[in-house]
C-alpha cells in the first residue's frame, strides 16, 4: 500500500484541503473586513445624507486598498518603556482570536463531490460552540495586554474599562447561546443548524437572539456600547499608543469580530445555510449564509449610526441587571419546556 502525501489526513479531512480552506477563509475574512469598513463608511454617509468615499476607483471601491497601503506605510510610533514583546504580539492576539473562531462555523451543508464529502467549515468539531466561546474570549487578552504593555495611563485605563465590559457581556452572551444548545441537544454547530430545519431558533428563542445580538454589539465594541474607544469623548482607549499596521490589526480584529458575531447569530438563530423557505432550495447554502450574515452586519452598522453611546454605569447595569437575569430566565424556561416535552413523549 503506497500512501501518497495527498492522502494523508488530519482528522476526517485531507491535510491539503484544510490548508486551502484556511487560506480561503483567511483571505476572505481580511477582504470582508476591509470592505465592511467601506460599507460602513458608505452606509454612514447615506444615513447622514452624504455620499461617502467615491474618489478611489469606481464608486470608491478601491478605497479599502488605498487605506491598507496607507496603514502599511505609516510610521510606527511606539512609546518608550513599553513591554516590547507583549506590545508586539497583542494586536496579533486580537486578530488571531477573531479569525480562529471561523474554523468551526459551517458556511454550508455537506456537499458530496466525486465521492468526497466536502464540509463547509475547516474543522468539524463536535463542541464547536464551546470552542467559539473559548476562542473569542481570548480577545480580552489582546485588549488588556495591549493596554498594559503600552506603558501609558490612558491605555491602561482604557484596557481596564474594555476588559470589564467584555467580561460582563461574555456571561450574558454565553447564557443566550445556551438556549439554542438545549433545543438542538448538541454543541456541534452543524447539528444546531440542521436542528432548525423546520423552524429557525429565532422564532423559538427570540429572547435569546436579542440578548445575543445586544451582547454581540458590546463584545465587538460597537455603538451603542463602544465605550472602549468612545472616540468623541476619550482618547482611543486600549489602543491609544498603537499606530500604523499594529493599529490596523486591532481595527481588522474589530471588523472580523463583527463578521464572527453575525455568523454565529446566523448559524445559531437564523438557520445558517438553510433556505428561507424549502422552495428556495436551489440557491446554494453558502449564499444563504452570506446573505443572512450580511443582513445582520447591515443592522449592526445601522444601529451604530442611529443610537448614541450608553453611559458606562448604564452599560454595566444593562449587562449585569438586565441581560444576565434574562439569559438565566431563558435557560430555565427553555430547559423546563424541553424537559416537560421529553417527559410527555
Amino acid at each position: 500500500m503506497s500512501a501518497s502525501i495527498w492522502t494523508v489526513t488530519v482528522g476526517p479531512d485531507y491535510w491539503w484541503v484544510i490548508v486551502v480552506k484556511a487560506a480561503v477563509i483567511l483571505l476572505g475574512l481580511a477582504t470582508t473586513a476591509a470592505y465592511l469598513v467601506y460599507a460602513e463608511r458608505k452606509i454612514a454617509a447615506h444615513i447622514q445624507l452624504r455620499i461617502g468615499p467615491n474618489r478611489v476607483g469606481p464608486l470608491g471601491l478601491l478605497q479599502p486598498a488605498a487605506d491598507a497601503i496607507k496603514l502599511l506605510f505609516k510610521e510606527n510610533v511606539a512609546p518608550a518603556g513599553r513591554d516590547r514583546i507583549l506590545y508586539l504580539i497583542a494586536p496579533g492576539i486580537a486578530a488571531g482570536a477573531a479569525i480562529f473562531a471561523f474554523a468551526v462555523i459551517p458556511l454550508g451543508g455537506v456537499n458530496t463531490w466525486f465521492g468526497y464529502q466536502f464540509h463547509w467549515n475547516i474543522a468539524h468539531v463536535n463542541v464547536g460552540l464551546l470552542y467559539i466561546l473559548g476562542i473569542t474570549s481570548l480577545g480580552v487578552y489582546a485588549i488588556f495586554l495591549g493596554g498594559w504593555s503600552s506603558n501609558s495611563k490612558y491605555s491602561l485605563l482604557g484596557a481596564l474599562r474594555s476588559s470589564a465590559q467584555l467580561i460582563s457581556y461574555e456571561m450574558a452572551v454565553g447564557f443566550a447561546l445556551m438556549g439554542t444548545v438545549i433545543l438542538a441537544g448538541s454543541l456541534d454547530l452543524e447539528q444546531i443548524v440542521t436542528a432548525q430545519h423546520h423552524v429557525w431558533f429565532v422564532i423559538l428563542q427570540p429572547m435569546a437572539f436579542l440578548l445575543y445580538f445586544i451582547g454581540g454589539l458590546a463584545e465587538t465594541n460597537r455603538l451603542p456600547f463602544d465605550l472602549p474607544e468612545a472616540e468623541t469623548e476619550l482618547v482611543a482607549g486600549y489602543h491609544t499608543e498603537y499606530s500604523g499596521l499594529r493599529f490596523g490589526f486591532y481595527f481588522l480584529a474589530e471588523y472580523i469580530n463583527m463578521v464572527t458575531v453575525s455568523s454565529i447569530a446566523t448559524a445559531l438563530f437564523l438557520g445558517g445555510y438553510l433556505p428561507l423557505i424549502p422552495q428556495l432550495d436551489f440557491i446554494p447554502g453558502p449564499l444563504w449564509f452570506l446573505a443572512k450574515a450580511g443582513a445582520l452586519l447591515f443592522t449592526m452598522i445601522w444601529i451604530r449610526w442611529t443610537f448614541p453611546r450608553l453611559r458606562y454605569d448604564r452599560l454595566m447595569n444593562l449587562g449585569w441587571k438586565v441581560l444576565l437575569p434574562l439569559g438565566l430566565l431563558n435557560i430555565a424556561v427553555t430547559g423546563a419546556i424541553v424537559a416537560i416535552q421529553a417527559a410527555n413523549a
Partner: protein
C-alpha cells in the same frame, strides 16, 4: 422604549434611502448669488475695449492695499481703453483682499466688479496673485496677441455661473511656472511695448508686501 428605538431606526433608514445633498465640487458647482463678492472681474465694453482707464482709484480706495495698477498711455492708433491711459498691468493679491468691494465702488468706469467665483484656495502663495489675464473678461473678438498669450484669457463667465472669466488661476500659474522653469521670460500682458521696469507685486522678493521673511 422599544417604540422610540424603532422610531429612531426608521428615521435613519429613511434618511439612507433619500438622495444625498452633497455637492461634488469641483465637478458640480453651486452658482453664487447674483451679488456675490468673490474674485474680481475686469470688464470690457461691448466693442471689446477695456473699461479700465488706469486711474488707480481702486488701488487708492483699497483698505488693505492689495491692488496694483500699472498704467500706460494709450496708443491713439490702437487704443486699449477709451481714455488717455489704460492698465498695462493689473494685479490683485487675493490673499490680502478682504472682498469689501470698495474698488468697485471707487471705479469711475465700472471696470472692476467683484464676481461670482469663490473657489480661491491654492497650494502656492504665488498663484494667489491674480494678474490682468486672470481678471480680464473674455471678449470673442479680442486682440490676436492676447489670444496667443500663453498665459491666456478665454471663456465667457456669463455662460458658466460660478466661474470667473478666463483661464483659472491654477492653469494660468501652471503655465507661468513652466515658462519660468525653462528659463524663459514671462510674457507681459497682452500688448507690446511695455516698459521693462514696470514693477509687479508678483515678484518673489523685494516687493512691498514680502519684506518680513
Amino acid at each position: 422604549m422599544i417604540k422610540e428605538l424603532v422610531k429612531g431606526m426608521a428615521f435613519t433608514l429613511k434618511n439612507m434611502l433619500s438622495k444625498p445633498i452633497t455637492m461634488q465640487w469641483p465637478e458640480e458647482q453651486k452658482p453664487a448669488p447674483t451679488r456675490h463678492r468673490g474674485r474680481h472681474i475686469l470688464h470690457r465694453y461691448d466693442n471689446g475695449m477695456e473699461k479700465c482707464i488706469g486711474c488707480e482709484l481702486c488701488a487708492g480706495a483699497c483698505p488693505v492695499g492689495c491692488i496694483y495698477v500699472g498704467p500706460a498711455e494709450n496708443d491713439p492708433e490702437r487704443p486699449v481703453s477709451p481714455g488717455e491711459r489704460y492698465a498695462i498691468r493689473y494685479e490683485i493679491n487675493l490673499m490680502r483682499c478682504i472682498y469689501c468691494g470698495y474698488c468697485a465702488e471707487a471705479c469711475p468706469t465700472e471696470a472692476i466688479t467683484l464676481g461670482p467665483r469663490y473657489d480661491l484656495a491654492d497650494y502656492r502663495r504665488e498663484r494667489l496673485v491674480a494678474t490682468k489675464e486672470d481678471l480680464l473678461e473674455a471678449w470673442p473678438g479680442f486682440d490676436k496677441s492676447l489670444a496667443d498669450n500663453p498665459l491666456g484669457a478665454g471663456g465667457d463667465q456669463r455662460a458658466q455661473p460660478g466661474r470667473a472669466p478666463g483661464v483659472s488661476p491654477r492653469i494660468a500659474w501652471d503655465r507661468a511656472d513652466a515658462i519660468v522653469h525653462e528659463g524663459g521670460e514671462l510674457p507681459l500682458p497682452g500688448r507690446s511695448g511695455i516698459p521693462a521696469d514696470v514693477p509687479s507685486v508678483a515678484e518673489p522678493a523685494g516687493n512691498e508686501h514680502g519684506g518680513n521673511a
